[in-house]
Symmetry: C2
Subunit: 249 residues, 2 copies
Amino acid sequence: MPTQSRAKVIRIADLKHACSSCSVRELCLPMGLDHDDLARLDTIINRRQYVPAGQHLYRARDRFQSLYAIRTGFFKTYDLSNEGGEQVSGFHMNGELMGLDAISSDAHACNAVALENSEVCVIPFDQLEELFHEVPMLQKHFHKIMSREIATDHRLMMVLGTMTAEERLASFLVNLSERQTARGYSPAILRLGMSREEIGNYLGLTLETVSRMFSGFQENGLVQVERRNLAITNLAALRQLAGCAGTTR
Amino acid sequence: MPTQSRAKVIRIADLKHACSSCSVRELCLPMGLDHDDLARLDTIINRRQYVPAGQHLYRARDRFQSLYAIRTGFFKTYDLSNEGGEQVSGFHMNGELMGLDAISSDAHACNAVALENSEVCVIPFDQLEELFHEVPMLQKHFHKIMSREIATDHRLMMVLGTMTAEERLASFLVNLSERQTARGYSPAILRLGMSREEIGNYLGLTLETVSRMFSGFQENGLVQVERRNLAITNLAALRQLAGCAGTTR
DNA sequence: CGCGCTGTTGAAACTTGTCAAAGTTTGTGG
DNA sequence: CCACAAACTTTGACAAGTTTCAACAGCGCG
């Protein structure tokens, strides 16, 4: 990626204006803000954090102070039940906000781990709430983001509650594809950042079932899959299976 | 219920101060507000709406203007997939807010129907957002409510994604029991306001499986069930099955 | 009184999970 | 550089849990 080598020449002065120069600003918190409001938001987002693949950004019960916006990279969040059972609650791409479920209790409700080398913007929540008074657009947009999270979760509940294994996996791939597209990447070429086990856990299936479904999709010419590299060869058919659900996140 | 006959002598003057006199105010939006702030909230919540059993409060794609707080009664919300598949996304008791998933798109994302005669307070969202500037406590609390909704959904995802039929139903009953308790009702006596089919749909099971599980619980002395009247006779065992999850909503 | 809705129960069928084995890739240390 | 271990993936056979199909009972209602 050319972006990586270019990153080396970014100066401190540029870093201070993080949002203004961020490639995913139109997907993220600053969406729709004008220049002045963007500058005000930048004043409170003055810290970034690098999270190497495999490291946790936060864990359940950690004290909640900040939301995190993913600048680059890929995360998964997961909950632990009291018996140690694990449930993957989401996979998160650049431009998405993490930690929204922690506001209610001042402690993180789930665990967040980087699946690849990632960088996040740290957004102190107290300061953000104060900023809402000065920047009503920002407040409105924040409410929309939280609401969208709820709506997204409801769609996943639909997936888990009503769909077969085949439909679940199709729905998962369509969703990934759409989110890639929204970021300007190819809708067909997906690099799965997670294992079969993590996909299965997320979809309420076993890793073996996921593997079998992938093989089935490949036999039917829907995808070409080779470990974690996947090419969608018949997106329409996948959509059909997924229930056409326009699940753009 | 004695409350019902008493309601008849409430005067217009009292109605204007809805929240101040509401029995569930400590579970609802006004939680933790002082007298003055409560009065300000009351100025924007000046409409109540009676919803008879079986009637819809809103439907998916309806224009979003207001949130609804349940004053009395019981609702279910459900989503429809493109093929007409239905997924019950929640059951809602007095003191709970509905419509939070609609903020993101200015249109309701799901359908809400009263399962018994109910009354809701209409909360114009535009006015609520404006009020946040004057009443920071209210804003903080609203964010917590939205966040709690997200956390609650994640728990349901855990239920749907990892639990057996038995565990799901146990978890469902424990959750209902805890919510009743929070409202000062008995933790053991539940009147299920919904059919087996609706429970099953919510939990990702068929109505037959739900029925069988109820029978099984009864045989093992965990509950006594007779149509929609249910008494929990061994809450500890149910909790055990549910994974002890303290799922207070 | 009969009809419809809801709930219960049984038997068979099917999807998915479980267990097991083997192949592949990646990383590590000699 | 090679050997080996560890993690991940695929595939098969079988078991189990849940759904599907079907019949019937109870309750409420016109």
